[in-house]
Subunit: 208 residues, 2 copies
């Protein structure tokens, strides 16, 4: 893989099963974090933080919670859908090298965050932009990223001693991988197909 | 500028004043939209849409609304802060070539969106990842992007005839620019300084 933007964007995958657990060089991790931090943010508030979770005990505790939440979701499925879901790996928390929890601080830059008075979620949006920068930088460094979303926010806050006002936005698994799949896992497992990008485009008004 | 990922990430700016209004080649716009659409999404739901707004009347109507919301925000400021804000240009809606409104459809992929049962906002996060892909692709194409957030969502829904269940997430101005500034506008105008990325990093637990 080259570090060309379009290559990285199209080769990036949400990784579950391909982590090797090999170490990440410190300077590589620094470049990835600096890239995340270079994201745009509403009113230049930079409301994100990155909790680097290497501790095995913390990751095992989170993984146990994820398994419980997987069961909660599975209980709502029936028939073919339940069958497909049973074959899908939903996280690589223990196999990956480390985790990065990305958080949102709504008070950073307050009270007058330029551009946030009309849209309360604008700060949360900024955090997501940083996450995508991180994901692309990691991909360019030949690292895999897997976003785990089978968890309850209060569990993560308590586990990592995150203050009540700070919201966990993403639990990301990070590390070297054997390879990146060409087709997303959920498509390979028949869960859902991608749609053509042209179907997402409208002109001037929604129905045009 | 090259199309190397790290160069693009660090050279990307939130553009207000540098739009030329020159046309965007169709194939360039296609690459940018395809890059946006290549973003990861919770449960492969791809819950985003892109409304391309070229119509001058629609952009003028939106611009009028933005000016009103600018006044609302300005009314809450006093002293030096009010003075600084008065010198900051907050949008390039009329000078840019076109706008792209990015929306979120919470029903896409429902009822069982894999990975969204525990985190209601996960679909909204996916839309933001697509926005950052779009922003970086545009930057690599030497186009500027400016995210305007001085608006009320119902105004945009009504203006573009967007159905009630669909949420506008971003109004982006897009087009060729004379140049990209090296330092963000808000920093140049003394509104707010960037912080070192190292200050955003925690180890294992928030206070470590």
């Amino acid at each position: 893989m080259t570090g060309q933007l379009y290559d990285v964007i199209h080769q990036r995958r949400d990784v579950r099963g391909e982590f090797t657990g090999a170490p990440i060089p410190a300077e590589t991790l620094d470049r990835v974090l600096a890239a995340a931090h270079a994201a745009p943010s509403v009113g230049l508030s930079q409301p994100w933080d990155f909790v680097l979770v290497r501790d095995r005990g913390l990751r095992e505790a989170f993984h146990g919670h994820v398994r419980q939440e997987r069961d909660v979701f599975a209980a709502g499925l029936t028939g073919e859908q339940a069958d497909r879901f049973s074959r899908i790996k939903i996280d690589g928390v223990l196999e990956s090298t480390m985790s990065i929890v990305v958080t949102y601080d709504p008070e950073r830059g307050s009270p007058a965050v330029l551009g946030r008075h009309a849209i309360a979620d604008a700060g949360l949006y900024s955090v997501c932009l940083a996450i995508q920068n991180l994901w692309l930088a990691a991909t360019a460094e030949r690292l895999g990223v897997g976003w785990v979303s089978f968890y309850r926010e209060p569990f993560v806050q308590k586990l990592l001693e995150i203050p009540a006002r700070i919201r966990p936005v993403a639990w990301l698994c990070l590390g070297p991988v054997t390879h990146l799949e060409r087709v997303p896992d959920l498509e390979r497992h028949g869960w859902r197909q991608r749609r053509p990008w042209q179907d997402a485009v409208h002109h001037d008004r929604w129905d045009n």
